[in-house]
């Protein structure tokens, strides 16, 4: 299945955070809101399309509501496979964090 790249993880987590079918634009806004940094709209769309091709996200075309006009929009959601790779990445990171625990530079005042 391979492992997701950094931006793929960001987009997958944004999809998970939104938790329902969503558009590229909503994913972009979620990323900007959470990270506090601007992202590339094109990158988000390209990544969503790729995640869909890899089976990590579901994608379907949705006709605009009657009367609204416009072209059909693609809506994406996290797929079971996408959730699985996210869990795998998290497990790997957790294991690495567990080993790093106790390093004096990593201690936080709580």
């Amino acid at each position: 299945m391979g492992s997701p790249g950094e931006f793929e993880q960001v987009v997958l987590l944004a999809l998970a955070g939104i938790g329902r079918d969503t558009t590229g634009r909503e994913v972009y806004e979620a990323i900007v809101d959470t990270t506090g940094r601007d992202a590339s709209v094109a990158s988000v769309h390209i990544t969503l399309n790729r995640l869909h091709e890899k089976g990590w996200a579901t994608g379907r075309s949705v006709e605009p509501p009657p009367g609204a006009g416009g072209k059909p929009r693609r809506r994406y959601a996290l797929s079971p496979d996408g959730a699985a790779v996210l869990a795998e990445v998290r497990a790997t990171l957790d294991r690495l964090w567990a080993r790093a625990e106790g390093h004096p530079l990593l201690e936080t005042d709580e």
């Binding site: 558009t23 590229g24 634009r25 972009y28 601007d38 992202a39 590339s40 709209v41 094109a42 990158s43 769309h45 390209i46 990544t47 969503l48 399309n49 790729r50 072209k71 929009r73 693609r74």
Partner: protein, 387 residues
Amino acid sequence: MSSPPFSRRVLAALLPAEIRTETLADLDRLWQERAKRKGVASANRWYRGQLLGAFAPSVRAHVRRLRPTIRRGGLDSVRRDMGHAVRQLRRHPGVSAVVVVTLGLGIGTATAVFSAVNGLLLKPLPYGESDKLVMITSRETGSSLDLHVSGPDVLEMEAEIDELVAFAGFAEATVGPLTRVDRPQHVVTVPVTWDLFDVLDVEMTLGRRFLPEEGGPVPEGAGPRPGAAVVSHDFWVRSLGADPDAVGRVTAYVRDGLARMRLLTFLVQGFAALALGLSAVGLLSYSVRLRRRELGLRMALGAGGGGVVVRVLLEGLRLTAAGLALGAVGATLLGQVLRSHLFGVRSADPVTLGATAAVVLTVSMAAALLPALRAARVDPALTLRSE
């Protein structure tokens, strides 16, 4: 009020087809919101940032599309495409001939001219401290014609211009018969002042430089002076059999180099490269347009955009290769003509030819990319209907 049109057009060309419409629509809406909130200038800046940000992922997406096409067919597919390209060239002999001849002419001329220019102007002059050399010409007020300086003027300037350390003069080259060699022939001779080689700081391979008593005004009542000559290396090899015992025979080239000429030459070369690139874009676009129907048919039959891009690129490569071959021949021939007129110019400078070939290949591949991407966006239904 709408997003900056130029950036939008670049983005439209750049984005992969499957996400183009939606991305552009999102960017338009986000631009409008930003323009309302922070002003048009800020929104435009943001849009340009988005354009820059789209560049790398779009290129990666295009490459990802192409990869399976190349991998699937491997060499077979390339060979098949090459065969197809040859058939296409045969089917449109007129266009192919125009493309090949144009590229050939462009490459041949560029190579030959660059060889000459490189030998004459761009390479530093083969003199010590050549950057401090100046050539003085005279010009009448209001005229743009450079004229020679008379002998007395030179002597006067030598006395008056302190900024110049040393002066030497040479007169116009003349062609005359030379008979005291094995084979009578015409040679180019240049009368010079005795100190020319001192000023140019030219080392003699054999013999010596001129002596003061071999130049300058002839004293009143003195008899004729024995002449002295310095011959070129070419002449020594060609006419004197490279005889090491031939005393008083030297290596020297006389060229004049001026910074202004170099700049001009660079500009001319730049324009030549630009013209070559533009003609390549035009020609390849034309050949793609001729084949719109065929490309549309292929795509209607399920060929991916990536396959079409590879095909068009390969065809461009073929035409360029044919043009290069023709250009190499042209450059060699033209170089020989130039060689007979100019000192120190090799008929076909391999380095220049190689460099030109590399530049032309790069330029034409870049030029082919544009029509190739456009071809990949051909709407099969439209092209088939329009025919």
